[in-house]
Amino acid sequence: MSESDTSPKIQTTIETGDEGRGEAPLNARDTVIEARNLDVYYGEEQAINDVSMEINEHDVTALIGPSGCGKSTFLRCINRMNDMIDVCRVEGDIEFDGKNVYDDDVDPVALRRKIGIVFQKPNPFPKSIRENVAYGLKIQGFDGDIDARVEESLKRAALWDEVKDQLGSSGLDLSGGQQQRLCIARAIAPDPEVILMDEPTSALDPVAASKIEDLIDDLAEEYTVIIVTHNMQQAARISDRTAVFLTGGELVEYDNTAKIFEDPEEQRVEDYITGKFG
């Protein structure tokens, strides 16, 4: 299975982002997600401290920072995955298209159909590849051509050529990188507006990771992508904007990626990025 990961025809060179990525002015595009004075607590402990930020449509926004700085927590607040944790308490607003997702009349199930998520560890269901991709369609009662949608999603996730002859075999038979692309195909099949990615490449080898990075770049044409990463080179390569969280759940700096990596305002951010700390 891993053969295809090392096959020569696949482009493995790593680019420093396309022209224009990470340089446009901050408010060039429409805001799709806006956090206002967000505080998140796990029991007594504060995980996010008064974070306000706007995320633009069709941007790739990277959230970076040391472990335990609250970046994953912030990501999971956007589609309310934190609801499953009993001790988690959220104060403040997160607006999606102008609607606070923590309003009482918002159903988290409906919200997650608009805002998909890809996790750190590839977690395909123990079902066939086709069923994996069709899962979201099935639970949402999609009544169109499921097979066409499966094919389209797999193509968009750059997996179709590798699996088109084995759609009936288990998703667990794929290699790690293929499984992660399957999870991305699964997330985009119901056609969400935003895709959240929680360190999607940290469990993968560099070749598989670079394929995911290429894919993220393509996805940004149609979706808004918010990605948490530990890998600063990755953030620099693929994102338009970068938000730096530091310990205590504080959003220290949020700007164009180029600006953050070349000339950050804050000394702490520079220390973190240059590896002096964190």
Partner: protein, 540 residues
Amino acid sequence: METEETTSDQLGRSTALRLQQLKGQLFEVALVAATLVGILAVLALFVQISSDAFQPETASPAWFLVYLGTLVGPTAAFTLYARRRPAVRETNAKAFAAVFGGLLLALVTYAVVDSLSPYDVFTYAFFASLPPALVLAYDRTTEDRTYTGPAIPASIIVGVAVAALLYDFVRGPIGVAAEWILYFGLVTVPAALLVWTLTASRRGRRSGALAGGIVAAGGLAVAVASIVTGANASLLVVLYSAFIVPTGYVLWRSVRTDPEGRVGVAGPFVLLGGTLLGAAVVDQFGIRSPDSFLTPNLLLQSWDGLTASNAGVYPQIVGSIIIVGFMAVLAFPVGIGAAIYLEEYAPDTGLRGRLATILEVNISNLAGVPSVVYGLLGLALFRRTLGFGTGIVVTASGTLGLLILPIVIVSTQEALRSVPDDLRQGSYGMGASRWQTLREVVLPEAIPGTLTGTILALARAIGETAPLVIIAIATTTYSPPSGLFSSGTALPLQIFAASANAKPEFRHGVVPAAAVVLLILMLLMNATAIVIRNKYGREN
């Protein structure tokens, strides 16, 4: 030279290292010994019981030689042949499951339905299956399928309730029909439908309908033939539908689709043929067989406390199966439901969370409560409070159900806990509700573990004696229970009672033989659990 150690000295085996190694080896030997003690004790028990039951020392050496030649030799040769060929081994396992599973299913179905009255069983089965069939038919005609899922169990309950209400009206007309027609409806029709859908999914609708039709027509032919020859039409119809049809289907498919492993289908027939051939030879030459107590009489007759060779435990076997079967109907939905609540729904914090924690701790404790105490609970609950009769099937099933409930809950919880949380997260992240996540992702993954645990609970229940004594189940009855509210008995109780019989041939012959039957019943259940676990394990 004296001060510097050479490399080979450093790497050599010093006394300290040698001592450590010796300690490790001693520990390993002790572990092996502990394992052997346990296994040998159980083996000795089995040898003792089965030698009492079969009395092998009373047979002539020729008897052993005949079976060595017809049964042991060929089976060993076939096993050796199949050992090296995985395809053959797999087909062999499938053939064994089909032949002996089918035979068992047919005999158990016939025995249970026969004792509960085929007319009653048919009435309830008909009313319980008609509403869900209508729901499914309606489901095909409509686009909106939101309510199909919940409608099916609801319609079954409604059907059973209607059957209970209309029983007096319906029982008359149904009573007119010949018995075999009811068995035809109970067993042949489902078998034909199963063959129909299986064939239709593989080879299209027309061949499906044709195959189903052939199965149904074959059932009619068997019935007509047995009526003409004066045989037991009901039994033959059941044997045909639950044994011949599934066996034929599996064997036919293996032979057709699996050229490599098709030799494997011979496995069960080597065993059966060897037994029959051996019996024929022994009979022909008048060879002295052992005076075994495990005879057809024991399996098929009712109890006789005076003559050991006439003592049979048929009512007890059927009673045990009915009690444990109804217990499963009562306890499994409750137990599995409780486990799902505790594992998937109950919160970790707050008042309800604390309640759930208390419940969980106590369920683990309940699993260890002595069974006599459950007998007292059953007596108080079913006999005193609910006013059911003394020593009837429902009371026994309910009491045993309470007994195995903690086991079912704990094993189902284990199975649910072993489903990785990643999968739940993935499903929620796709916008699935909790119920969808449970049904589509969590439960399919947890089925093998749940089934294994619940079947092992069944095996535990079938051997329970003490609670049945407390709720005053009769030690001996001469006919199997005729309904859920009639009195019945169970095999372990009869063993317990017969062990006090004055005649030594009961204590040293019938009791071990009945114990062997009980052990076989239990082993069959465990084997089923293992087969299910392996089947699902392979698929994932």
